[in-house]
Assembly symmetry: C2
Homo-oligomer: 209 residues x 2
DNA sequence: CCATCCCTACCTACTAGATGGTAGACTGCA
DNA sequence: TGCAGTCTACCATCTAGTAGGTAGGGATGG
């Protein structure tokens, strides 16, 4: 009936389910989970409202699928970064780039948005949002640990606490950037974040190597 | 007719308007602007829904009054901090305490919440939210400037950029704390924030003196 | 001193439109 | 033939907002 059934004959329906997810994801990132309706998705996808229920029986089902896909895609992006970059600072820059890309599309991180809506969210969505942040922090902890032990980073506190700090700063930067109507806000925060993690000693070109 | 008329005979009505604002503020901080209704406020205040329209003709009017009052109260709190504390670090700790107090009540900063809802907000509310962040940053800039020139603080970047950074980190910390369901998250972020702004040199008791 | 008037605060009862969701039928492909 | 995908038509409930009326207090004026 709906989304979890991936291995099936045609691909037309998978495409529809994905188009629904795409439209809903954008709506959540821009307006929030409570401020979009099946009617909005219907309009965006070009399908009747009732047909949406065929793919995602309830709004909760849609929401859960949304967060799960978002987490999966994000994790894949993180794995990509880790395999393409070696230096901790470069990895962090790429990580920040993920946020920048989202904000440039005038969206907010979907899980940041859902974190705001958390009090009104169905429990399974809530849990999945919590996992998203935990996954982000544990990836960052790994990157930062490697970076500090190689002397590429310097700061007060543990890698884990710094990882939590980075997630918070970036989520907050997106939020405030929206609130202020100034997307550049994120760049300012990001560069200060990196600046304060660089080792202090010889000149400022202490980048990789 | 409604709120702007403060100087009048009785005080009963002022109290009602304030009770409405209190209830609505809490609802916004917990659920967001789109996820509460006049019916919710009606229940919380113990007044008929239609009577709410007597005090705040539309939801937009209510929203604008809400943000304006929030800003005013926040500014007063900041002025209080400035007059009661001299050392920059103490002022920052007190500033962070403001956020902690809100989160302890299981709420989010109201303007942080509204920043998430920004795409669906009536324009006057949007503007007022932007001013809230600007006011916060300019207060912090002043505090940080004084602190750096007295050698109480040390970090990479300008006081203004650090001020923006602090607002973002704290707003983000509240958001992630909610998303993770771990209020302590804010404390971790806050202490790391302070730790990375302390002057590096002699011991860690470089506080005020 | 009292009748009138006006205003604020509140009420009951209603509306139009949106919301998430359902029932049941049609269509085209495997 | 069966079934996934779509449709039209519908529903109960909730939404912000309106209409119109009542109670009571304070001022005004005769």
């Amino acid at each position: 009936m709906w989304y979890s059934r991936i291995p099936m004959g045609a691909k037309r329906d998978i495409k529809t389910a994905d188009r629904i997810l795409d439209a809903a994801e954008k709506l959540v990132q821009v307006r929030g989970f409570n401020a979009f309706s099946y009617a909005d998705v219907s309009k965006a996808v070009g399908i009747q409202k009732a047909s949406l229920h065929h793919h995602f029986a309830t709004k909760t089902d849609l929401g859960v699928a949304l967060v799960e896909r978002y987490r999966r895609v994000f994790l894949e992006a993180l794995a990509g970064i880790e395999s393409e970059e070696d230096a901790a600072v470069d990895r962090l820059e790429r990580y920040i780039g993920l946020y920048r890309t989202v904000l440039r599309k005038k969206r907010m991180c979907m899980c940041g948005m859902l974190a705001a809506d958390v009090a009104t969210l169905p429990t399974p969505m809530r849990d999945s949002v919590a996992v998203f942040f935990a996954e982000n922090e544990s990836w960052l902890t790994r990157v930062i640990s490697a970076g500090t032990s190689r002397g590429e980073l310097h700061f007060a506190g543990t890698p884990a606490s710094m990882a939590a700090f980075i997630v918070s700063s970036l989520e907050g930067a997106m939020l405030v950037a929206r609130g202020r109507g100034e997307p550049a806000h994120l760049d300012d925060v990001a560069s200060l974040l990196i600046a304060n993690m660089r080792p202090p000693t010889p000149s400022r070109s202490a980048k990789a190597r």
